[in-house]
Amino acid sequence: MLLLLILLLPLLGFVFLGFFGRQLREPLPGVIASALTGLSFLLVVAAVLSGGASWEIKDWLPGIPFSLVLDHLSGYMGLVVTGIGFLIHVYAIGYMHGDEGFSRFFAYLNFFIAMMMTLVLAGSYPVMFIGWEGVGLASFLLIGFWYTEKVNADSARKAFITNRIGDLGFLLGMALLYSLFGTLSIGELREAMESSTVLPLALGTAGLLLFVGAVGKSAQVPLMVWLPDAMAGPTPVSALIHAATMVTAGVYLIARSSFLYANLQDVSYVIAVIGLVTAAYGALSALGQWDIKKIVAYSTISQLGYMFLAVGVGAYWIALFHVMTHAFYKALLFMASGSVIHALGGEQDVRKMGGLKKYLPRTHLHGLAGALSLAGFPLLAGFWSKDAIITATLTYPFGGTGFYIAGLAVAFLTAVYAMRWYALVFLGEYRGSGKPHESPPVMTLPNDVLAVGAIFAGFLALPEPLWNFIEPYLAPALAHVETHHMSLGVEWGLIALSAVVALVGLYLGYLAFNRWTLPAWYRTFQSWSANAFYVDRVYNALIVNPLKELAFIFALFDSFLDTAFVALAGLSAWLGERLARVQAGYVRVYGALMVLGLVAVLVWGVLR
């Protein structure tokens, strides 16, 4: 019952605010929504402390129960979702101040939390799929929140349609698993997998299909195009849905299904390669963006790529560790960006910022903490989790040296673009007009909490021989993977190496975007990067436009059919009109016709 309450509280908020939110005065809907999410967070804490829980309706669908399970994995993820979600709710009270759709916004946010918790707590794939689709819907509604602008509505549809491709993969994967094992309960599948006699090829296909779902939801190459456009939504949405929680659902799905992937070396290899490509693509694109939020959005794609690299090499707990630290520093970066946008009255172009350190001292500290954590500055949260991923490519069974070198190179790029973001926004001279003002406490206080997380969360899981709370905590819920140990000297040598890489990247970034005038080759790269390497244009040319042409042909055929049917209807109407003339209204005519008919029948009868 406790578990059900975790879902129902935010859902109640959604229904209540949806129906009555308009009647409430401004801060009230936000307060209600935040309180319900906070309560949900406390319930998750209580459930985690009590060691876990489960709840189910038997025979929800024939043979498939509706089951919710709170084990170590879903408890961990639930804490991240509701905890960060609560902070962002509070922040949004300040950010959405004075917006016409104030209560609608909070209704959607609560709906999102309810659906995300359904996804997280799901004990079987169909239940997870409900949450999966629900968060997709919430994302659609919130990207298009300011729906009167066509760009926003287009972005919302783009996100929804791109996700649909992934969802088809998820659905097919589920169907295949059901036909192989006759159950979709995650616990039962895990047991069935141990004594499995199923063909590895079939299993691999199922794993790959589920991964397609994850690719769509988590914006991996080649379905990454929707995430940068998703920044059309309000900034708290970008922080909550498109950075901290929803986009990590793909990672969560793979980790939940780790018992499946731990046996599938080929599929895992594909996952790792796609993760690495995504990480590199995101980092390279982030370097050239001019929109303050898009820099952070591409960096999210890049960091998600890191998480998939981690699950691909088999380091499931490290991926989840990175989910947590990333949730802290990326939510912080987004909300600091939101503060900046708020302060500048809606300006998002970094070329019109700069020097904000002086005007926004509090937000400056938040931005600094977030950027350094993202860059992997030694001892901050992002450093520990990213370093854990890069090292894992050497120690975990599906990894390799190639992954290690590429991962390190992307880490260098990460440091450069993180510093670029920081330098363009906060350093140098103010290049805009108007007077920036610091945000209200309701916006800065949640950021304080997030900043603490972004700095210290990494200390929950340190490399050997220091303490590590997360790995043993998550171990029972994840597949067991054999790792080969490195000597402590090599391990700490590698950690020092990645620290040096991050520091060099930061320093180069500082020089490049604060001092140097940039060389010509960089300007070329800049223009490619600013357009995200024209992937949108390529997709438009290869997929979108041909489909539009096809739709046009179908529409032609359709209008031809329409015309034919309209003509047919016209013909019978015309015939009816002619025939109606017979009804002259003269009784004598009717009588004469009757007699004629009678005579005809008689004549026919006699002559026959």
């Binding site: 009804q583 209204g585 003269y586 009588g591």
Partner: protein
């Protein structure tokens, strides 16, 4: 017997002609009565000829039916006359298509 049938046919034809040519509802009505009685005559003729009573019975049924028809039909005609002070059927053409 053929004389009876000839008379019957003649009466029927006169009635039919009346139905088709008259405009006054009353006269059309009378023509219909004429046709009914022509049919009655034919029934009775055949009954006598074949020696059973079925034709006679049928004639009685037709008479009863004609009485009922007169009651209803005259009622309608009176109502129409009251409404439009005319019984010409050509004026009753509102349902023309």
């Amino acid at each position: 017997m053929s004389y009876y049938l000839l008379l019957s046919a003649l009466l029927f034809a006169i009635g039919l002609y009346g139905v088709l040519s008259r405009r006054t509802a009353i006269l059309i009505f009378m023509s219909i009565e004429l046709m009914l009685n022509a049919a009655n005559l034919a029934f009775v003729t055949f009954a006598r000829n074949s020696g059973n009573l079925e034709g006679q019975a049928m004639a009685l049924v037709v008479i009863a039916l004609a009485a009922a028809e007169v009651a209803v039909g005259l009622g309608i005609i009176v109502a129409v006359f009251r409404a439009r002070s005319s019984t010409s059927v050509d004026d009753l053409a509102e349902l023309r298509g």
